[in-house]
């Protein structure tokens, strides 16, 4: 009897390992997009995931709705939704004003912004890399496309939508992902740099020369819009610490403005052109 028939289990294991190694090796070095096979699996399972969470939420909501005073609850939900939109608008307006735009420009931007805002709920998280991605319950049928900015309910930047975007679900790359990059400016000293994820829940402000002055601990960072993905003026985070290094650039640690524990609902912003002036 040939040896591979005697050792079938090892042959199967070797085959599976080989398959996975091929799968992993075609992605290294890491690209920005998932490969076709990965996308296909996401397309198949993401509606199921959304169905499970929505179903459970539906049951929970029916249960609480039965016992609650319905009218008050509906009114409360309406107010909450309005508050959500108002806080987004307020944040957007304040940030635009900070960038010294004219009133007409601000109004035009605000109108466009209000019409195309998409609200979504978080239906999944990344089990292996908690600070890298999220799954939302809105997809291409709701107007979601890759590279749309995502904010929390207070208007703080969370990340951007990335492929794969399925019909009713989308994946979000968080700003805490080391692969992400956001063009930012500090509100006081007007220092311009790139915010990327570090290990864990913190970000880093990159490419600030050690010789350059400005930038102080506690200073707020907002988007510039230069990257053509994130609209200008969205709050990104606060400078936590600044350390000089032997290299040309400073080591600046940034604490993101959004909170991981308050990420149940988010807003997907339309892609807008323009940057800080």
């Amino acid at each position: 009897m040939p040896i591979w028939q005697k050792r079938t289990h090892f042959v199967v294991l070797a085959g599976l390992i080989f398959f996975h190694l091929i799968l992993i090796s075609i992605q290294v070095p890491l690209g920005s997009e998932k490969k076709l096979f990965g996308r296909a699996v996401f397309f198949v399972f993401s509606p199921l995931q959304k169905g499970v969470v929505s179903g459970f939420r539906g049951v929970r909501s029916a249960w609480t709705g039965y016992f609650d005073l319905r009218r008050i609850r509906q009114e409360n939900q309406k107010l909450k939704q309005e508050l959500f939109f108002f806080s987004q608008e307020k944040r957007f307006l304040e940030d635009r004003l900070l960038l010294f735009r004219s009133e007409a420009e601000v109004r035009a931007s605000l109108d466009a912004f209000r019409q195309s805002l998409i609200t979504a709920r978080v239906v999944g998280a990344d089990a292996g890399n908690y600070y890298r991605s999220l799954i939302l319950d809105k997809g291409s049928l709701d107007g979601v496309k890759p590279d749309m900015a995502v904010c929390d309910r207070f208007g703080n930047l969370v990340g951007r939508t990335i492929p794969p975007v399925s019909l009713k679900e989308a994946m979000v790359q968080l700003i805490t992902d080391p692969e992400s990059s956001v063009s930012v400016i500090s509100v006081t000293d007007r220092v311009v740099g790139i915010v990327s994820g570090r290990q864990g829940a913190l970000c880093g402000l990159k490419y600030i020369l050690s010789s350059v002055g400005g930038g102080q601990e506690g200073e707020e960072l907002i988007t510039t819009g230069f990257d053509k993905i994130y609209p200008a003026g969205i709050r990104v985070g606060q400078i936590l610490s600044i350390k000089p290094t032997p290299s040309v650039f400073k080591e600046i640690v940034v604490k993101p403005s959004f909170s991981f524990s308050a990420l149940e609902a988010v807003a997907i912003l339309p892609r807008v052109s323009g940057g800080a002036e």
Binding site: T8, L16, I24, Q27, F42, A125, A127, G128, S133
Partner: protein, 164 residues
């Protein structure tokens, strides 16, 4: 024989669906719990002890790839580690008696810990960065997997004994 294999595959499919259900629920309502409880690992170890290494490896590959599809990490890393988890759990459990509850817990703890170590190493190798261990919270994952897996196996054995 053929009917029995089909029944096992159907059972594994249902268990994978159940694992996916819990994974989705946990992800939707308490994302950080995904670090402590990996429902896919529980399914893989439970079935590997009962069905052997080939079945465990195949089930591990399926469960791992589903988990990978919802992650922004490298697609295939969880697939590979869960394949190995399924294989070595099935392989070792056929060669030693892991029926007593506490022996089973210890056995599954070792197997799941090996999987976690391999996953951390592979991620560090492929991503070229330190893996976020959530302040050590992830270390609890093998323990939870071992306890849950042993509990399910114990309940299944009792049900079988009653039927017999």
């Amino acid at each position: 024989m053929k009917g029995s294999v089909l029944k096992d595959i159907l059972r594994a499919g249902l268990a994978t669906a159940a694992a996916f259900f819990f994974y989705s629920l946990l992800g939707g309502f308490g994302p950080s719990t995904l670090f402590v409880l990996n429902a896919f690992s529980v399914v893989v170890v439970t079935f590997s002890v009962g069905q052997g290494e080939i079945f465990g490896a195949a089930l591990g590959a399926v469960c791992g790839l589903i988990q990978d599809s919802f992650s922004l990490g490298v697609f295939g890393v969880a697939g590979l580690t869960k394949t190995l988890l399924g294989f070595w759990t099935g392989y070792v459990s056929r060669r030693m008696d892991v029926t007593p509850f506490f022996r089973n817990v210890a056995f599954l703890l070792v197997m799941s810990s090996l999987e976690l170590v391999l996953w951390v190493l592979l991620n560090a190798l492929v991503l070229r960065e330190h893996v976020d261990l959530r302040h050590g919270l992830i270390v609890l994952q093998p323990l939870v997997t071992a306890l849950l897996g042993s509990f399910i196996l114990n309940v299944a054995r009792r049900i079988q004994a009653r039927r017999a």
